[in-house]
């Protein structure tokens, strides 16, 4: 049975894509239901322009996929969107040309991402959860400090093109999103950077022994998350025409839910970007259908919450949980490397 490694082609099979197939079936089911709700539903136009309503937050799903593959969580992205949007509006109103204001927005959002990443690599004892929880409050807090309860806007008319414009018959935002999705898919699945993301998420210790600069990966992904939050903020602001400090509330939940529903395991190291991409459209069209039935947006909240918990439940049952290293710094005892396994500690499955 055992022999020296032989050359074969990489085994591939549909069974690898079970989860994606499941999502596609769900997506189709949603659309079948929707088409019964409205006689005008089944048109090409519906499928091309409906995404304009939900694609802004979809930009957050792309880096969230990387973050969860790394084994982390980032709850601050919604706040970054709000801060960036407020800063862009305020700086434009203060006289900065709009294109520069947009560049500023992206710079600010990337900086926010950098701060998240920097804190994570400087204070490894702290979990990404608690760090982004505090920066979430700080970022949105700054937005409130700047704008209080006012709104800001009066953008140049061309700015609305971002969210509402079409190139030919296709919405501009759809084109940008497809391009971004392709870029992220390529980065994640074909580049060295992508490979290292999976490696760090699968076994960070082994990466550190293999000369991989894990800190750089974490910093890089955090900055990408910031950059994409900037994109979300551009499109969201354009769609609404004005902004307030409380925009993009709960966007982090949407992004996390879509990612996890897309089959990315919260244990890290597993999943493809195709799943989250499908789940963006699944949830988007589901939302649209609920709108057709005049079901309140609050029902979607419930559904999202359920989907999040359920998909993690399913994953925990199918995927044996990876042993996570305890976050607590342990006593400076000598390494327990007793030859015949006399280590008395039992590993805890979940640190929490």
């Amino acid at each position: 049975m055992e022999k020296t490694a032989i050359d074969i082609n990489k085994p591939r099979g549909l069974h690898q894509y079970q989860w994606e197939i499941f999502l596609v079936v769900l997506f189709l089911a949603v659309n079948v239901v929707n088409s019964f709700l409205s006689p005008y539903y089944l048109t090409l136009d519906t499928f091309v322009s409906t995404p304009m309503n939900f694609l802004d937050k979809a930009f957050l799903v792309l880096p969230m996929t990387m973050i969860i593959i790394l084994g982390n969580i980032d709850v601050s992205v919604g706040s970054i969107v709000a801060l960036t949007s407020v800063l862009m509006a305020v700086s434009y109103n203060a006289g900065l040309p709009m294109p520069l204001a947009m560049v500023l927005a992206l710079l600010v959002s990337t900086t926010c991402g950098f701060i998240n990443g920097f804190l994570q690599i400087k204070f490894k004892e702290l979990s990404a959860t608690i760090i982004t929880l505090s920066t979430m409050t700080v970022f949105r807090g700054i937005a409130y400090v700047i704008l209080e309860d006012r709104s800001a806007g009066k953008f140049p008319s061309w700015f609305s093109f971002l969210a509402w414009g079409y190139l030919g018959k296709i919405p501009f935002i759809l084109i940008v999103f497809v391009l971004a999705a392709i870029v992220f898919a390529v980065i994640l699945h074909t580049t060295r950077f992508g490979r290292m993301i999976y490696a760090v998420g699968s076994n960070r210790t082994a990466c550190e022994y293999s000369g991989i600069r894990t800190d750089r990966i974490i910093l890089g992904v955090s900055m990408l998350a910031g950059l994409m939050a900037g994109f979300t903020s551009l499109f969201l602001t354009s769609r609404m025409g004005s902004t307030r400090p409380n925009v993009a509330l709960n966007y982090e939940l949407d992004a996390i839910a879509m990612t996890v529903l897309g089959g990315i395991s919260t244990n890290g190291g597993k999943g493809r970007i195709t799943g989250p991409l499908i789940s963006i459209f699944l949830i988007g069209f589901l939302n649209y259908g609920l709108g057709l039935r005049n079901v309140s947006a609050q029902v979607l909240l419930i559904i999202l919450g359920f989907l999040l918990v359920l998909s993690v439940l399913v994953q925990n049952f199918t995927d044996r949980p990876r042993q996570k290293s305890p976050q607590k710094s342990s006593a400076p005892t000598r390494r327990s490397d007793a030859g015949d396994g006399s280590d008395i500690h039992e590993n805890s499955a979940q640190g929490g």
């Binding site: 022999k3 699968s202 076994n203 082994a206 000369g211 190291g269 005892t333 390494r335 327990s336």
Partner: protein, 506 residues
């Protein structure tokens, strides 16, 4: 009353592929301190786990006060009054000493569920006083030194009226003065009628403390001697007195000029003032007892863990290494001890594991080149004879020896000059061992310098050109391999006077 409070007869224990204990005897008298000695892997820990009910013996019987007993779980052993204190204290650092002693078997009011603090505190004070503790029961566990924490563990054992106390390498993390305190406490316990099983790597511990000693070697019972009047040479002979029957492939590597040197490497709390060098084509064995600091030294060389002082020279030039990436860039590779956690991504296939440490070499403009990856993986798995169904198999499906080869393959994708192998044959079967030895020789012949950390005496002697012995964080001896015997190495590793012993022996 039986002669022995605890007696083990004809105990054998099998694990898949290995026999950990074979026909072992052990007899513990009431109120005696009985040492168990042996090398790493001699079976001491397995024996302890059988006594504490963690493992069940496959053959043989256990008598407690002359009555046969069966331990279904550690709780059964605890009920009979068998308690253990380990080197690595399992405690609640954030809770008080009092709570660490009693939590789990505390007495409390069944109605209000209030713990009987007053009563427990009095008990704790009495216990701690009897152990001459210099801290109060309300002190926080985390603020105590390791020696003090051990005292708490002993108090915990006594709080359940232990009749037999097992002390598993308690002195390893202690300073000399702390050891002396522990000796006194141990003797005090014995005088009160507790029987103590004392396990230590230190020969001086045994001479200072024990009345009798049982020696194990490779899972076999060797002898039980009275300590007074026992010659050290006889004891050491008993521990290592095997003939080296294992086959080590003959070695033809030409040893060249010095390739790597370390001077004065220190890290507070782990090791101090370590210097040695490696030549091209040379295998240097870094040996010593488990926990002596060998792994920490090499991890520091490799940039995984920090160091406080020390200089590294590669081919005569001083180099700075702060991360493993820098170490790899300089040509230093490291095969870690725990291959599952530190070496491999178990969920990944062979190819990806092999290229993990040198992704740069397999990408163009940042994009991975799967065909190149596959080529090198096929080449290396073939030349190292990694046995697997195919190269897309997950690393978790390989046997231990093949996993080890896989990590070697991973190292070979980088341009290395020095390879550090941390316990390369740990947990692999005999056939795979021989193959790993063959690979090591092959590497040496190709001109790599090799540092091998090993606890196995025959391997150290059979495979190295030079031997550096580490004892408690310091270099205690260095031998040219032909001058070394198992006895001299063990003495250097175990006794404070190893160097002198060596001088006499040499």
């Amino acid at each position: 009353m039986a002669d022995y409070i605890l007696e083990l007869r004809h105990i054998s224990k099998f694990f898949p592929g290995v026999q950990a204990l074979k026909d072992v005897h052990f007899q513990l008298k009431p109120a005696e301190i009985h040492a168990i000695m042996g090398e790493n892997g001699a079976g001491k820990s397995t024996l302890i786990k059988i006594i504490t009910g963690v493992y069940h013996p496959d053959e043989g019987e256990i008598l407690f006060n002359g009555q046969p007993v069966h331990f279904r779980s550690p709780l059964d052993a605890q009920r009979l009054g068998i308690a253990a204190v380990y080197q690595h204290v399992a405690c609640f650092p954030d809770l008080s000493v009092l709570e660490n002693i009693f939590l789990g078997h505390e007495s409390f009011d069944s109605l209000t569920r209030k713990i009987h603090w007053r009563e427990l505190r009095k008990k704790a004070e009495v216990l701690l006083q009897s152990l001459d503790a210099d801290f109060s029961p309300s002190a926080s566990m985390g603020s105590l030194s390791i020696a003090q924490q051990q005292i708490v563990e002993i108090a915990k054992a006594l709080s359940v009226d232990a009749k037999i106390l097992i002390m598993d390498e308690p002195t390893a993390p202690l300073s000399r003065r702390e050891c002396e305190d522990l000796y006194r406490i141990t003797e005090g316990l014995r005088d009160k009628g507790v029987s103590i099983i004392f396990i230590s790597h230190r020969i001086e511990d045994m001479y200072r403390l024990a009345e009798r000693v049982t020696v194990l070697r490779d899972g076999h019972y060797i002898a039980t001697w009275d300590v007074p009047g026992l010659e050290q040479a006889r004891l050491v002979q008993g521990m290592v007195g095997r003939e080296i029957t294992q086959y080590f492939p003959s070695r033809h590597a030409a040893i060249g000029e010095e390739i790597f040197r370390v001077e004065g490497l220190s890290r507070t709390g782990f090791f101090k003032d370590i210097s040695f060098s490696v030549r091209r084509g040379e295998i240097v064995a870094l040996t010593g007892l488990v926990g002596a600091g060998r792994t920490e030294i090499c991890e520091s060389l490799y940039g995984i863990s920090p160091r406080d002082a020390g200089r590294l020279f590669l081919e005569g030039k001083e180099i700075a290494i702060h991360t493993s990436a820098e170490a790899l860039a300089h040509g230093i590779g490291y095969l870690p001890e725990d291959r599952m956690k530190q070496g491999l991504v178990l969920d990944w296939d062979l190819i990806r594991n092999i290229t993990l440490a040198s992704l740069k070499n397999f990408c163009r403009n940042g994009f991975m080149q799967p065909s190149q990856e596959k080529d090198i993986a096929l080449r290396l798995t073939d030349s190292l004879k990694v046995k697997t169904a195919h190269i897309y198999a997950k690393a978790s499906t390989l046997s231990g020896g093949n996993q080890q080869k896989l990590i070697v393959a991973k190292l070979l994708t980088s341009k290395l000059k020095l390879i550090i192998l941390d316990e390369p044959t740990k947990g692999v079967d005999v056939g795979a061992k021989t193959e790993i030895y063959r690979i090591m020789n092959q590497l040496a012949e190709e001109g790599y310098g090799i540092i091998m950390i090993s606890s196995e005496m025959p391997e150290v002697i059979g495979m190295s050109d030079r031997i550096v012995v580490i004892r408690e964080g310091r270099k205690s001896a260095e031998f040219a391999t032909p001058d070394a015997t198992q006895e001299t190495i063990l003495e250097a590793a175990m006794t404070a006077h190893g160097r002198e012993a060596h001088a006499i022996a040499g």
